[in-house]
Amino acid sequence: MEEKLIIEVKNLVKKFKNITAVNDISFTVKKNEIFGFLGPNGAGKTTTINIICTLLKLNSGSVTLCGYDVATEKNRIRNCIGLVFQDPTLDDRLTALENLNFHALLYNVPHRQIKERIDSVLEMVDLLKRKNDLVRTFSGGMKRRLEIARGLIHYPKVLFLDEPTIGLDPQTRNKIWEYIVKLKKTNDITIFLTTHYMEESEICDRIAIMDEGKIIAMDTPDTLKNMIGLDIITIISDDNKKLKDYLKEKFSIDAELTKNNEVRFEVKDSAKFIPYFIRHCHINILSINARKSTLNDVFLSLTGKEIREESANKKDAMRMHMRARARR
């Protein structure tokens, strides 16, 4: 199958005063794939999307979508994209139906098709029964689903989803991912999404990992995970320093001392490694833990930090929470 490119970004740079939000990135998105941007808050994901969607001017570089240039063919681009923003953009004093109608007219959907299309997108996100209710009465998850539905009414060629599940409970998040996967299966559409949840980005065909305005890795989720050793082992021992030296000497493994007082390293096959290690190591081991590597580990090994501070550990999460509360 021939692979057509639908988005091409070359050497894109975007500065806000003294912040370089997007720092010379290049990538392409293929037709009909799910392409994901994964990165922590402030990485520059939203800024990149806003530039591709003609909402922001770029400083340098070039961006084309469906062959149209963002600098000179804004209206053509706007016609063929759907965008679900990171923050809600519904009019909550209108009903679901009125919001969708507004959208359909803005996008010049043929009159005779409006009703039918609205019903079918509402059906898809399970909101058909609530069509005449004010959006104000909707839950966060329902609003998100309605926004996804709205983004589809004009049959966009590319649907952008900026953090589509942010702030939602796990159940709703799963549901939304189901819709997205279903959407891709049943429609001739390319999906470009961003997230800072690693688990979620695994539904993508390809992922670009972004940090501080740069793309630091880009490939399929599986290839990315295979970039580092397959299994991650963390050990807590009486003398972590000594253990680290031992690993280096005996197995030529460069282990890392984490801030949680663990020794952390990667091996090809933990099931074989662990018994052998236990038999030979004379340092007192308090706990040992092995797991498959995730995209978080990829991020960690590329940048030296966790993608999401919350996921570092419970104590950290607690501290963040307190800080957030104190700021209010």
């Binding site: 706007r78 923050d87 953009t89 004093r93 209108l94 009125e98 959208h103 007219l105 803005l106």
Partner: protein, 256 residues
């Protein structure tokens, strides 16, 4: 072209729909001028009698068109400022990302706000019989386009201001330092004919003065209280619509 017309239509329609759905706003839009007319108007009128002016009735019929102007002014301005609200709550992005041009967005918003302001202004006419002011049907008929034009001029000013505003606080400041002085120095509440010279000059620089003047001439049905010639009223008000709309569109077209 057809696409742009649909865009203008739906943006206009949203304003109208939201107005008729907002009961407190409709009630408020009737109650506020009623309070002004019945309490302030009657109070001032009777104090004119005490001071021997003897013009209680005349004052009320002077003030009546002023109250209509006030309603139109505030409604049109607040409607335009709902752009700031839409920006804060995100809805503006939905509009700006659409393929409809900024020009149509500004026109649709202006027509919507102006329609609502006109309706609210004309509602005030129901008080005319109550305070015993006679208005001919001809005046009412003329008042419709006049009110609409005045509303458009205020909307266009409001929209141009809202194009760059990022917060509702800034909007409060604008209300206090632009809208209020404009209102007080427009001749809506007190006659400018005998005002000090400096105030007349300020009024002359105030685009709203011409709108108020036009509305008053039409409501009273005579040129007795007229400040400026009618053609000047129309020219200035229409000029404001054109200039401020162009400015508004330009500001919306500029991106970060």
């Amino acid at each position: 072209m057809k696409k742009e017309l649909f865009g203008i239509y739906i943006i206009w329609y949203r304003e109208i729909k939201k107005f008729f759905r907002d009961r407190p706003r409709i009630i408020g839009s009737i109650a506020q001028p009623a309070i002004f007319l019945l309490v302030l108007g009657s109070g001032l009128a009777s104090s004119f009698q005490i001071f021997g002016g003897g013009g209680g009735k005349e004052f009320l019929s002077f003030m009546f068109p002023g109250i209509i102007a006030m309603t139109v002014l505030f409604t049109a301005f607040f409607s335009a400022m709902s752009i700031v609200w839409d920006r804060e709550f995100g809805f503006l992005k939905e509009v700006l990302i659409s393929p409809v041009s900024r020009t149509s967005i500004v026109i649709g918003k202006n027509l919507g706000g102006s329609t609502v302001a006109m309706i609210q202004g004309l509602i005030i006419l129901i008080f005319a019989p109550i305070i015993k002011i006679q208005i001919s049907w001809m005046s009412v008929l003329k008042l419709i386009p006049v009110t609409f034009l005045v509303a458009m001029s205020i909307s266009s000013i409001g929209i141009a201001l809202a194009a760059r505003l990022r917060s509702m606080q800034a909007f409060q400041v604008l209300t206090n330092f632009i809208l209020m002085p404009m209102f007080f120095l427009s001749g809506a509440l007190f006659p400018l004919l005998n005002a000090p010279e400096w105030m007349k000059y300020i009024a002359m620089a105030n685009p709203l003065s011409y709108g108020v003047d036009m509305m008053r001439t039409v409501v009273i049905g005579s040129t007795a209280l007229q400040m400026y010639p009618v053609y000047l009223d129309i020219a200035v008000t229409a000029g404001v619509v054109v200039v401020m709309s162009i400015l508004g569109i330009a500001l919306f077209n500029r991106e970060d």
